[in-house]
Each structure stands twice: as C-alpha cells, then as structure tokens.
Symmetry: C2
Subunit: 402 residues, 2 copies
Amino acid sequence: MISVQEALRIILDNTQDFGVEEVPFLDAIGRVLKEDIFADRDFPPFNRVAMDGIAINHRYFEYGVRDFKIEGIQPAGSPREKMENAAYCYEVMTGAVLPENTDTVIRYEDVQINSLMAKVNLDTLEKGKNIHTQGKDRQQGEILIPKDRIITAAEIGVIATVGKSMVKVAKVPKVMIVSTGDELVEVDQIPEAHQIRRSNAFTLVSLLEKLQIKATTSHATDNKEQLKVKILNNLKTHDILLFSGAVSKGKFDYLPEVLQELGVEKQFHRVAQRPGKPFWFGIKNHLNGTNKAIFAFPGNPISTYVNCLVYFYPWFAKSVGFTLKEETVILAENVVFKPHLTYFLQVRVEVKYGQLLAIPIKGNGSGDLASLTMADGFIQLPQAQTTFKKGATYPLLRYRNS
Amino acid sequence: MISVQEALRIILDNTQDFGVEEVPFLDAIGRVLKEDIFADRDFPPFNRVAMDGIAINHRYFEYGVRDFKIEGIQPAGSPREKMENAAYCYEVMTGAVLPENTDTVIRYEDVQINSLMAKVNLDTLEKGKNIHTQGKDRQQGEILIPKDRIITAAEIGVIATVGKSMVKVAKVPKVMIVSTGDELVEVDQIPEAHQIRRSNAFTLVSLLEKLQIKATTSHATDNKEQLKVKILNNLKTHDILLFSGAVSKGKFDYLPEVLQELGVEKQFHRVAQRPGKPFWFGIKNHLNGTNKAIFAFPGNPISTYVNCLVYFYPWFAKSVGFTLKEETVILAENVVFKPHLTYFLQVRVEVKYGQLLAIPIKGNGSGDLASLTMADGFIQLPQAQTTFKKGATYPLLRYRNS
C-alpha cells in the first residue's frame, strides 16, 4: 500500500498528450488555450474617444476660449475626420476616432450646446482628457493571453477582438467509463430487492463534464471473459478508461487480473487513504508509443467520487497543460481520525469575512451517496496526524462552487 | 441616478418565471432542480455487505468458534441466500445482501481460507461489523435533495439511484444579445483603421453559458428605424433581451428612446457606479401577463462585463429559484477611489491559509478588455467610502474559479 503523495507522483509521471485542435472561438469556452494570443494591432487601435461630448484643441481652452463653433461630428465607426479650424470643436461619440487637430474631449455633461455653438462650463481642463490613447492598454505584437489557461468569458472577448475566429485548444480525450457489478440495474429499471441502480458511472460523467470531457459509459457484469473482451475493445477506441468497482478483494473482482492479462502495466494497487483505498492504476503501452491510462476506482460511491477529484483531475490538468488552483480551508470543528490513512473528509464550505471555513458533514461511510449532496468538497487530512484542530488549514478539493 | 443597491432592488422585484421542464437526468447537470428528490426505498435498500469476506452468526464467535465451514457464497447482485447451519459461514462480496442467519461480516484480511474452511484470526469481533444496515443513510420517503439547487455530480448520483431517468428543472430562457455600434465588424473581418471587432456580444454569451443559457446574438447599426424593427422582432421571439452599447449620451445612442417608443417601461437609467454607469433597465409588459426584461448595458467592454455579473446573474438566479453563494474577500492593498460611486474593482483572487485575498489589477479603465484576462473577478467597494484599507473585507463577484 502506498501513500496518497506517492500515488499522485506516479500518476503525474504518467500523463498523456492528446494533441491540439483548432475550434471556432465560441466553442472554446472552458477549454484549455494552446496558443499565445497576440495583439494584432495596438489596444486601442487609435486615439479613441472615451466619452460622448466635444473634441477641442486644448491650446484654445488655455487661451481662455470657452465658446466653440461646432465644425462637424465624428461618429463611432466613421473614418477619421479632420477639424479644419483649430479654434472650433467637433462633436465626438464614445468609440469614435479622435478627429485630427483635436487633443482633448469634454463630455456633454460639461457643455451647453445651442444650435452650432458649444459653451464649455469648466474652469480647468486637463489636456488629453477623456481620450483612450492608441496603444495605451497593449502594444501591437504583445502577448495578451499566454497559452495553457482555461478560456473564460474574459478570454473570449480578447480572442474575438484580435480576430481569432478559430483558436487552438487542447484536444479532449475519448474517455470510456465502465461500471461493474452484477447488483446494478439501469436507472429506468425497478431494482429487485438485492439490486441497486447504476449511479457511479453517471457521477463520473458529471465530474468529467466539468473538465469539458463528454465521456461515454458502459457496464460490465462480473464475468471474467466478457470483461476481458469489453476492455480489449475499449482500449482500441478510447484514450482513457475509468472503472468503478471490481478492484477489491471480492471473489468476482477480476479487474486487476484481467487488466494485467491484457498487458496493462500495474503502477499501483491500494492507497493508504479513506475512502478510496482499493484504487488501481495502470498504463497500457502501445507499440506506436502512445500510452493509455487506466483508472480503476473502488465501487463505493464516495470512493469513486473522491478518487476522481484527487487523482483524475490533476492528472488531466497536467496532461492538457493547465494548473489546478490550489485551495486551502480553515477547519471549523475538531476532528479525530485514528487509522493510519489520509482522510478525505466531506465538508460544506462557507465564506465568512474572506475566510474559507470547512464544516464537516457527517456521512455514513463510503456507501453514503446522499451525503455528497450536503457537501461542497473534501478536505485532505494528512496520514501522519490523528487529531485535527479547529482553526488549522487543510487542502480543499471542491466540487460545488455555487 | 440611483444607487447600486436601489438598482438591484428594482431588478430583483422584476424577475421572470420561465417555467419548468422535464429532461433526461444526464442533461440536467448544471441546471436548477425544480422537484424534491425522494428516497424511493431505504438507503441502503437491504443489509448490505460492506467488505469482501465471510458472514457469520456472531453468537458462534462468542462461543469461541474460530473455524467456520463455508456453506455457500453470496455475490453482489444475487437474491438473498439463507445459511442453513448457523454455525457455518457464507462467503460474501461487497454490495451483496447479507445472507439470512448471519449478522456479522469478517473481511478476508482477517480470515484464512483452506478449501471449504475459513479460520478467523481475531480475538474480538463486534456484532454487526462491516454491514451497512438497511435504511442507515436515509429512510424511504425522505427528501434526499430539496428542489431549487444547481445540480452537480453529487446530485446526479442520487437522482440516478432513485431512478429519476427524467427530472424536472427550470426552463432556460431564450436570450437575445444585441450589440450596437457602427464601429464594429465581425470577428473574421479585418477592421479599417477606425473600426474594431465585435467582442461584447461574445463575452456575454460566455458569461451566460455559465448559467446554462445558450444565447443567440445579433448586431444593430446606429440606425434608429432598423434598431426599432430589430427589437420589435426580438421581443416576439425571445424572453430576455440584452444590449451592449447605445445607452449613453451619444448622438446615436437611440436605444432608451426606441425601447420606450416600443412600450418598454423604463425602470431606471444610470446607476452610481464605475464602471457601468449608463446602464438602462426596462420591462415590457405583455397583454398575456408575461413580462420581459430588457437589460441595456453600456458598450465599454468592462462595463458590459461587470453589469452582467452584478445585475443579470442575481436576477436570473432569483428568476429560476436558486441563491447565488455570496463570497467576501480580504483586500490585499490599500485602495483610494474618490468619486461618489460604487466602485467595481478588478482583482486577482488568491487563497492563502484559508483566506481569500483580493489583489487589485491595474487596468486602464472601462475600455481595457485585456485587463479582464488578468483578473478573477470584481470586488464591490461601497459608494460611501473613498479609502479602502488593506485587510478589510468586501463582496466578490467572481468569474474565474480555476
């Protein structure tokens, strides 16, 4: 049995490269950017009027002029006009190019307009006021967004502005999620007294959807030969296999055996943690040099869930090149946990005065699926300790943000 | 000009009901649950074996028996067996029903098995050990998930388990996002010197996608009649209209005028805030009793962005019935802001020892789109103050979690 840290190290040493693809920029939301985004021109690309009002030549204001004849109008979206008489003014709209021979904008609030004359109601006026000068935000050629980050609304705006209608993002792997166990029936079936419905496969689908992965699911019965054929086929068609169940000490827990018979190289089996101990992880090396990761999670609902967060999330993040933000939380109650295992404790997260508080949720062990709906995440309590004091901080694995 | 608080109050007094629909449960991820989810049976539904091993009748262990003849095997997914001889044992697998006449499970780790005999290597043994008793987690008929929450992976697991292959969720409204401004060209076009590409419409699409809304976009030029026809058509086909631009004091800012001509009732125009001041909000009352909200955001990129977070997000949350989690952060630097306005300041968020720290991002005003990519959210600094001290806490509007 290895430690959580050792298991994580091995997993992160075995990442996969799924390559890069180009997609329409609006399909890139939530994906991992795989190219630097450069400014195609200065930001702003011209001296941009930042307020609706009039543009003048500041010199005349300094001379004491307050009444300016309106020579013309410069709407947004029109080519740059030229003010012929430097003592006049131009009406200008937000987003417009500043007209030639003007250098300062006075907003309508500070101006009185009578037919063709504008009267400025100001005693002082800063030169260059209300102008967003060319290149002030960013210079042409500058990197606006470095690659390897998750694309949010903020990035979409910039990507649109620089004209990247197609953008390079990390390819999403093809993932097959296989549930195991003869006790499972489909969601739309009525289980017999000794049966339950499949659920782990679908919680995994949901957890992967947060990573923009659209996984497919299937089910394997506790039949060794059928399991073997199923895995063989899935290894051909998918980049990653996730299993739930059949990795413990049961008579029908054929999975580790079958995977090894199929040439999947075991990296480890069993991790010193609760829940999720019987986790099995292996790599299938293909002749063409591609490696495929196989995550075989224990079948208890909380075990599957927590292991996906603890292992699959960082493995995937590293594989596609981004870094998961690390969060810590302040434990809100004393906790005692005696076994010499890393303890993943379900918590509700509350923010109070800028502090992240973790309130433990009392579940009934790794089978208590419903307790997950009362929590927001898990905190990771280290193996070396048995008492965990209120007020101490621990890493948080969060699955609910709202 | 009204305050941010007053604007929010008006907006939240004008929510819309989009109704409820039933969708396949896997399509419900991220949606708002609109029915309570009940336990269709006890959780677990039977006395469930929690460890692979043998099941015995504890009385015999108490009598001193340590060698148990194996009478049979109870796999997961098989109907409940009956152990005929109470002094014998049954091999049992995790997830199986506990066989009749047994009451305690001993895991394989504590047993030695030789052909048909199991030898228990324990001195003491708690009765009922390693059994997840029927109804321990939840009783049949109990509410497992109350309605009006966002469905995460945790809820998906429970919904699957209770057999809700179809689940009731809040309907997603049809939203039209209209950008305005003659200076705008499409993303795949090369702008002239005085033009820029459309971007606000797409940042809004991305921000709404986080709420599971798939919005459509269109563009209106600065032509009053065309704008009017466009709005009239969109009011017929959509539940909500969002605008970006044409609400300020410019000569071609026809939007407030046109909306009022079309019978949209202005609720307010201009809010004492920076950025985002010229925000216009109105309601179109239809004869059939439905009201449609029109959010007309100012056209500067940061203004549009922040107003969507400040106003549209809570309005939508209340409309569909969930509560946005309120977050506060600790300001990491002193900030001075003199205007008598609520200040939405861009910040990067860092978590240190369970504390959420807000590090201000120095942008170049409301036109500096690229600065959004360096931030994770905005903090809301109240109008009544001008100096904001390092260490004080303020509300956070976050748009980036990873």
